[in-house]
Symmetry: C2
Subunit: 174 residues, 2 copies
DNA sequence: GGCTCATTCTTGAAAGTTGAACTATGTAGG
DNA sequence: CCTACATAGTTCAACTTTCAAGAATGAGCC
């Protein structure tokens, strides 16, 4: 008996639609691939750049923002992490000298996280290795069609999980 | 200037093949979708079952094993986590009464992790909610073709990241 | 047996994450 | 102005994960 596929009826609980055999296999493959990849990138970046993948992603976001800085909330939103987590992360990156905090003049509650030159340099040094790792794990293994398919699939999933869609199944609240 | 796409040449460092525009978008979508989904499942299970997604996965693995038990190393391998992490996790699950440790008679170093009846019951209670969450996030949003495509893609990626493939690009070592 | 090396699993400390509580500031309405 | 509530960001404690080190057993070889 499984806990994703059909367990048979008989319980007094509402029966969901269990996963088909194919769906179970896809789900398992998804879990394996995503956890292996995230672990792989975490180790690669921890070894080469001295920070986990999420932190590296924060630096990348900042590097692409105007004046290389973003409000904390904005950065948290675009990196898909909580503000609490970001506070800790930025504190650590600041200690490394890769990010600097700045007060927001127009809103005294606000803070900017700004990428320092040193942070930019860390990014420059590690970008080649990181891109290579991503390529070897994903793009060099997939056909062009698969890359396109993956993009479409991931966009659909991400759209369904965006916070603002939390009430998407509660239309009567709108 | 980006750190995944072409940054232009001119550095003294070996230039990797940067990501194309489409690859960058796919990569971004992949990161968003996977982190949003993992966060979503973590919160759902933490709220309903009182444990993170990885721990729930351990119970699922055990529930499908003969006699509902597995050697620690085997469980770690199938769940794609380190033995250290598993040790801590099982300690916690044991404290909850959901897993029990047993000595392996044929190898005195070995330990079995065995799912308790209580653990089985937790699984039973939470399986419907969990499957529903997975379904809403993934299978109910994708076409049958996309599900098949996703399976193929994830299998390719997972295969390339399996530990034993660490030397896959070093054929002269074999 | 005894040596060496591999394997299994655990441990402890440091690092990272979470969720709730908290401070401070902004905003809307009387 | 004042109250009430919302938003921005931080902090604390509890929890989880990682990495390196360690204890115990197994396996091969002389």
């Amino acid at each position: 008996m499984g806990f994703m596929g059909n367990m048979g009826t008989g319980g007094d609980m509402a029966e969901p639609r269990w996963l088909t055999d194919e769906e179970q296999h896809v789900w398992r493959a998804y879990l394996h691939a995503t956890t292996l990849l995230e672990d792989h990138l975490d180790r690669q970046l921890q070894r080469d750049a001295g920070m986990p993948h999420v932190y590296y992603g924060l630096l990348v976001q900042l590097s692409q923002a105007p004046r290389r800085r973003l409000r904390m909330t904005e950065l948290a939103r675009s990196a898909k992490i909580t503000r609490s987590r970001l506070s800790h992360a930025v504190a650590r990156l600041e200690k490394n000298g890769w990010v600097r905090r700045e007060n927001c003049p127009s809103d005294k509650r606000g803070q900017f996280a700004q990428l320092t030159d040193e942070g930019m340099e860390v990014l420059r040094r590690n970008a080649p290795g990181h891109v290579t790792a991503v390529r070897q794990a994903m793009f060099d293994r997939l056909s062009p069609e698969q890359v396109t398919q993956l993009g479409a699939i991931m966009r659909v999933m991400a759209a369904g999980l965006e916070p603002q869609d939390a009430d998407a199944d509660l239309p009567w609240l709108r």
